[in-house]
């Protein structure tokens, strides 16, 4: 557990460095966000001054960042230019993205490992060839092409899924976007599982296990697969963070009001506090996901656990 605490402590400098970096980057964007809000209409100087003061835009970067951080420690993440509290906004949107990412992740995990095992056990067979060809195709096609095609064909023409929005809640509204978002990772999971399994099936300890007279199911399931999953788990852990961050395109196509959509809009509007809030959240998720992966290593492979102790 000391190891876990250490990993969490490492997160503190990462937290400050990332938030400051993001803040500085948003700050460095050209233009005046308040003026931009008004579009082509005139804005009286007084109104401009009021708005700039409200969002501390009239102060230097470090002071702005200081204001923001003081707020964060008081549990106040600031507010958007339309006056909505950022914490409230993230709360609503975080749930949408988490549901989407989780759907995609489960899809990757179950279908990806399933296909990988299938291909790995029947190496060179028809199933193997089909999985290899299919995954190559998915990796090659950009997400938005897969997304729009799935939306039009499966959603609109066949009516199997809702075309957009969150009306039907989880899982209904999240199945199609989840599969689209997860398709890329799924291809990697399937290929990793397959390769790793093929290698392990040739390893000495598998031969030993078979020689001991264990059933094929036990040999594959308990011995070969367990070891084969180490690289897969590494990938799945990191990928959960990726999914959270990579939801921008998918959320856009399927009109899911999640974090990805928010980041996109907030960068356009130069809303520093919102962007920093979201990115901080994503950094935390990455750190936690990596931590989870490290801990899982120990479960899958006793040697790693003992080496650490």
């Amino acid at each position: 557990m000391r190891y876990a605490a250490q990993r969490l402590a490492q997160a503190i400098p990462v937290f400050f460095a990332t938030t400051f970096l993001i803040y500085a980057m948003v700050f460095a964007l050209p233009g005046d966000p308040i003026l931009a809000l008004a579009g082509d209409k005139p804005v009286p100087e007084q109104v401009l001054a009021v708005m700039r003061a409200r969002y501390h835009l009239d102060e230097p970067l470090l002071v702005q960042y200081g204001h923001y951080m003081l707020g964060v420690f008081r549990g106040d993440l600031g507010e958007t230019f339309t006056g909505q509290p950022v914490s409230e906004l993230l709360q609503d949107r975080w749930a949408v993205t988490a549901q989407l990412a989780l759907t995609a992740w489960i899809f990757e995990l179950v279908v990806g490992i399933g296909l990988g095992v299938l291909a790995g056990l029947r190496r060179g067979g028809a199933a193997d060839t089909a999985v290899l060809a299919g995954t190559t195709f998915v990796i090659a096609v950009p997400v938005f092409v897969v997304g729009y095609t799935a939306q039009i064909v499966l959603g609109l023409n066949l009516g199997l899924f809702p075309t957009a929005g969150t009306d039907e809640g989880w899982p209904g509204s999240y199945l199609l976007p989840g599969m689209v978002l997860g398709s890329f990772g799924l291809a990697y999971v399937a290929r990793l599982t397959r390769t790793s399994l093929v290698e392990n099936l040739r390893a000495d300890y598998v031969r030993t296990a078979t020689a001991k007279g264990l059933s094929r199911r036990r040999v594959v399931g308990l011995h070969a697969l367990r070891n084969s999953l180490i690289p897969v788990v590494t990938y799945l852990g990191v990928d959960f963070g990726n999914l959270m961050a990579g939801a921008v395109v998918t959320e856009g196509i399927f009109n899911l009001p999640g974090i990805g959509q928010q980041v996109f809009q907030s960068i356009q509007l130069q809303e520093g506090p919102v962007v920093v809030g979201v990115v901080t959240l994503l950094v935390m998720i990455f750190i936690l996901a990596n931590l989870a992966v490290d801990l899982l290593y120990g479960v899958l492979d006793p040697r790693i656990r003992r080496a650490r102790a």
């Binding site: 005046d32 007084q46 609503d92 009109n255 006793p302």
Partner: protein, 533 residues
């Protein structure tokens, strides 16, 4: 021991991840799928605010138009004011205006709508420290400067030009005679607000209480939906036919259009131009295109001596094939313009510009050479707010190259957030995209705002300003129009800014709806009925 501990930790982390994912989200209540009820849904983009004084975005206006009655409305047939919450708006000298309020009207919380409700709302909007978007609409009313001092806090929060005579009479004193005043009262910023609003303006912005045909039904669910239902207290002319309307919020127009095709949303006010031909096929007469008040122009930095010659500017105008660009970039959905005003504005003349806006490459080249031509780099300025801007600017560059022989053309694409401050600071050293979204259908709104004092082109013409002033002080709206037209003629003859095209809105709706009558001024949601069965 160690084994079980790390196993437990792994499980705990997994459990947290799972519960974090599922915990927040299963609060779905079916959204806009009430097919059986007398209800319909409208595709919308997330509004910025729902306080009438604090928004000018078209999405907010769609909602606020359903929630509020402004003093005046605009007759879509003539573009002239017709009374709504007001009974009459009159003046003898165009400077002091008397607004009579229709008696006996109520806000949806039961509070009576009085002259005071209007005065309160206008004062709050004009009060500088509130920082509301529509603040400048009140700059013609006496006392505006005291509420918006150059520096420091204002000494008062009431416009001295507003006098509540009695419950139904409001007297407004302007700083100068202004013949267009009644039509400006159709703008949402002139809607009334109840006393209840001023206890907590922030809360009001999330849950406005209005005097219109609909009333908010439940909380504004940001980025998801806004539900409204028929107002129980409404006694005006716009009594709603439907029981409920759900505004479903979309981040992209394309997705909204897909949902319209899938029958998941009933009315879309903004079909993307790229989908217009398909929508026409698919929806038949449930696809409607209406001319809007928005215009695109190409402005010149007249303060730069290379662009000082009006003949050169005219040559540019004649070298541009507006129809070809509109066809290529906007699928023919926008309308090429030979006038500075949009077609729906009273006083609009179809071909006010004449030869100078007619595509004629040979004459353009002759005029161009005669005016001394152009040497050096021609910079074309626009913002990155929409990819179509770059498309039509590229087309214009090609036409200028081909028809006038300008070889060295460069693009200056500016981030949208920086574009207007660039124009304001006169940093543009070449032709630039200029756009005007109409506030109210009056020639004054276009001409004075865009060609008047302190304009972006640096163009100065005393005769033009005199005519605008005469028109503003004309005794009636009708008498002001010929004066505005004379001013327009001067602006066209000098051509500091070229008219390009007028925007059109593409509207589509499902076969469940009837009575759809969307105008540039209102979506008229109250008039829409839902077919039963």
């Amino acid at each position: 021991m160690r084994v079980t501990r790390s196993r437990a930790a792994a499980l705990a982390v997994a459990a947290i991840m799972l519960s974090g994912g599922c915990g927040g989200g299963s609060s779905s209540d079916g959204g806009g799928g009430d097919k059986a009820a007398n209800a319909f849904s409208v595709a919308l983009t997330e509004p910025d605010h729902l306080t009438p004084g604090n928004t000018s975005s078209s999405y907010s206006l769609t909602v606020l138009d359903a929630l509020f009655d402004t003093p005046v409305a605009i007759d879509p047939a003539t573009g002239k004011p017709q009374m709504r919450a007001a009974e009459s708006v009159t003046s003898t000298d165009q400077k002091v205006w008397t607004i009579k309020i229709k008696p006996g009207r109520k806000f949806s919380n039961g509070e009576p709508v009085t002259a005071q409700s209007f005065a309160d709302s206008w004062n709050a909007t004009a009060y500088g420290p509130n920082g509301w978007t529509n603040n400048y609409y009140f700059d013609k009313i006496e006392g505006y400067d005291e509420l918006n001092p150059e520096s420091g806090e204002p000494s008062t929060d009431k416009l001295s030009g507003l006098k509540v005579v009695d419950d139904t009479t409001l007297e407004v004193t302007l700083t100068a005679p202004f013949s267009q005043f009644p039509i400006t009262l159709a703008w949402i910023a002139f809607a009334p607000m109840p006393k209840a609003a001023f206890d907590d303006l922030k809360a009001y912005d999330q849950a406005p209480i209005g005097n219109g045909p609909f009333v908010l039904d439940g909380a504004w669910e940001h980025d998801k939906q806004i539900k409204v239902k028929r107002s129980p207290t409404y006694t005006g002319e716009r009594a709603a036919k439907a029981d409920e309307v759900t505004f479903k919020i979309y981040a992209s127009r394309d997705t909204a259009y897909t949902d319209l095709r899938a029958g998941r949303v009933d009315l879309q006010l903004t079909i993307p131009p790229a989908s217009a031909p398909e929508a026409k096929n698919l929806l038949g007469d449930r696809f409607v295109a209406t001319a809007g008040g928005t215009m695109d122009y190409l402005g010149f930095p007249v303060y730069d001596k290379r662009f000082a010659n009006p003949d050169l500017r005219k040559a540019f105008s004649m070298a541009i094939d507006r129809q070809a660009i509109v066809d290529a970039v906007y699928n023919g959905t926008f309308k090429p313009m030979a006038s500075l005003l949009a077609p729906l504005v009273p006083g609009y003349r179809e071909n006010a510009c004449g030869e100078a806006c007619t595509y004629d490459p040979a004459k353009a080249k002759a005029l161009f050479d005669q005016a001394g031509g152009f040497s050096g780099t021609l910079n074309l300025w626009f913002s990155n707010a929409d990819p179509s801007y770059e498309q039509w600017m590229t087309a214009i560059a090609n036409q200028l190259k081909q028809n006038l022989g300008i070889a060295d053309i460069k693009f200056r694409k500016i981030p949208a957030s920086d574009y207007l401050s660039t124009l304001r600071a006169h940093k543009q050293d070449g032709p630039y995209r200029n756009n005007w979204v109409m506030d109210y259908p009056s020639p004054q709104n276009y001409l004075e705002s865009m060609w008047g004092e302190g304009n972006r082109m640096g163009w100065e013409n005393k005769e033009f300003l005199d005519l605008i002033h005469q028109a503003n002080t004309a005794p009636t709206f009708d008498e002001s129009l010929p004066l505005y037209q004379k001013a327009e003629d001067i602006a066209l003859a000098e051509m500091p800014m070229i008219p390009l095209w007028n925007w059109q809105d593409q509207i589509g709706y499902s076969n469940r709806l009837s009575g759809v009558n969307v105008t540039p001024y209102s979506a008229n949601l109250d008039a829409i009925s839902v077919k039963q069965g």
